[in-house]
Amino acid sequence: MTGAERVAIDVEAVTAEPASDAFLSVRDLQVQFPTEDGIVQAVNGINLDLARGQTLGIVGESGSGKSVTSQAILGLLKGTSAQVTGSITLDGQDLVRASEADMQKLRGDVMSMIFQDPLSSMHPFYRVGDQIREAYLVHNHVGKKAAHQATVDMLRRVGIPNPDSRYRDYPHQFSGGMRQRAMIAMALICNPKLLIADEPTTALDVTVQAQILELIKDLQREYNSAVILITHDLGVVAETCERVLVMYGGQCVEMGTVDEIFYHPEMPYTWGLLGSMPRMDRTRQARLQPIAGQPPSLIQVPKGCVFNPRCRFTDRVPGNACREVRPDLVAAAGSHPVRCHIDSAERKRIWSSEIAAKL
């Protein structure tokens, strides 16, 4: 792919029109929660496109708006105090304006979600199998027997041994890895076209983590699903995703292919993320470099660039632009979309001479 082609695709990704091949298309998504302390601007203008068979990683710290974005897509914020604006288009259907009844039909069937903590995400009083079967029964007009068989097949498919007897177990009788497999079975039982995995491996040990990711990838290939993988683990992203969206303070601050984000990142926040990640493929250095400071308050979002209070490079921009002017998400020629005031050529220079060498 030449540089010119890449620019064309990425610019298209942030314009108002959905990409033609996109299965899911999000435009200017805003989510606000009114609270007693003020309005929490949890998500502020997210754009993304995703085709079937593709995997998009969303990375960022806790509170950066990753999970809220996914819940907005699934319509789980309907009926809460949250105000969702912008557009979310799934296979041509506008989900922001869709009724709760329409969303119920889509949820768990066309799109579904794997949650982070499978123990608290499963009902403690019902059998694992029955909870999965419930998801199948609500979207398929079949008898209980057929649904039972589909559930057992799915449990076997996600690698649970003796699915016939494990069907009757309760969530607390499963191990952590088994529970996450059961969660995946629940999410995939209706063969969804869009799968959102919200930190699916966070609570698991590394071997199980790898198995679970492999399983998600396998099932994605088999069903040709579009997958959004939400995580704060960059290693997981590098292994699993084609494209990455870096979120900070409810905004997308950088978006690109895995290669672009890992080998040519241009946003100081992404540099910070990469700098705070342990690397097994490099020689060991003295210390990981955490990003100084705290994530921003989403009630009083910093003026100018959201990242400016923690950014080490604000002096590279003439004047006081970083503290005064909100930068746009723009792709410079031969590059991917970045939300930063520093000149693109200068960003590339800082990355290669000052940052990359130290990682």
Partner: protein
């Protein structure tokens, strides 16, 4: 599950024995002279001595207790040396007032208490939980505010106030319902409608007091449960909101309510003292109060044992119900 049941049953028996010992000591090893009480005022020392022998109070405490317990399970001989008679099981002794067997008195009072307790419990459970769920689902809106207001009122008002208010307005002023009668003991004696009218005000009084607690408890639990991760999962599966609320939400939120309900019902079966007194219902509570005023020890002892039995039994039932509701309990 069977081992669980057996363990609980053994615990029930052990607790009952412990309770009976404590109750027995409280009354028969206490400072008041039982023989003098049984004999009444103006009793000569000789008569008191006779009463002491007749009641077996001259024997050691342990023997007295074992005699009493034997009477409970197998019956025993009672009375003065020259007039021994057989008191068949369950023998709680005879009333000091009129020599009536205590078991007869209890048997007469029990249907009234059962009528009050079961009717009231049904009302406060159904309405308490129902209103609590409605309030939780409309949190901050008018149904919630009304529910919270009513439950605050119910919690703060004392039973005599509510009961007397009902009696004054509904029975005296408007004459919508009859005064409670001493003969209506069950829905089939004489008929369900009479039974219903007879106890309705007593039920409502108790329901207002107990139900308030259920509204608050259900509301708080329901609000907490609806914020749980598994509720989000249930919604993410695409289940209709009715299923999410009732099958996933209420099922989990109801657990603590079951505990409180069991204990409340147990306590009510032991006699609702104030309510029975206000509405002149000759149930266990009122029997106990009258017996206390008359220092009629065998009756008081029997009612205390009965109340303890109901509460312990209710506890065991709650334990078993818990295991049925929550599969995580079954393991231990």
């Amino acid at each position: 599950m069977l081992r669980f049941l057996i363990r609980r049953f053994l615990a029930l028996i052990a607790l009952l024995i412990a309770t009976s010992i404590v109750t027995f000591l409280l009354f028969f090893a206490g400072p008041s002279d039982v023989a003098a009480n049984s004999c009444g005022k103006g009793c000569t020392p000789e008569r008191i001595q006779q009463a002491r022998v007749a009641l077996g109070l001259d024997k050691p405490l342990v023997v007295q207790y074992l005699e009493y317990m034997k009477g409970l399970v197998a019956g025993r001989e009672m009375g003065p040396p020259n007039g021994r008679y057989w008191c068949s099981w369950p023998c709680f002794g005879t009333s000091f007032q009129n020599n009536r067997p205590v078991w007869d008195i209890i048997k007469t009072a029990l249907p009234f208490t059962l009528s009050i307790a079961i009717g009231a419990a049904a009302i406060f459970l159904i309405f308490g939980v129902g209103i609590g769920v409605t309030a939780a689902l409309h949190r901050g809106k008018w149904p919630d505010k009304v529910a919270v207001a009513i439950s605050s009122l119910g919690v703060s008002l004392p039973a005599p106030f509510i009961g007397l208010l009902f009696l004054w307005i509904v029975v005296s002023k408007w004459q919508l319902l009859p005064y409670t009668s001493n003969t209506v003991t069950s829905p089939w004696n004489p008929d369900p409608w009479t039974w219903f009218k007879n106890y309705l005000l007593a039920w409502l009084t108790l329901a207002l007091i107990f139900g308030a607690n259920y509204v608050r408890l259900t509301r708080a639990n329901m609000i907490e449960t609806m914020g749980e991760d598994y509720i989000r999962t249930a919604r993410a599966k695409g289940l209709p909101s009715r299923t999410v609320t009732l099958k996933h939400g209420l099922r989990a939120a109801i657990t603590p309510v079951v505990t409180v309900f069991g204990l409340d019902l147990g306590a009510l079966l032991g006699g609702a003292v104030l309510t029975e007194t206000i509405f002149s219902v000759p149930g266990l509570g009122r029997t106990a109060v009258n017996a206390t005023f008359n220092q009629d020890l065998p009756i008081v002892m029997a009612v205390v044992l009965f109340s303890a039995f109901f509460i312990i039994f209710a506890n065991i039932i709650v334990d078993i119900l818990y295991a049925v509701i929550d599969p995580r309990v079954r393991l231990n």
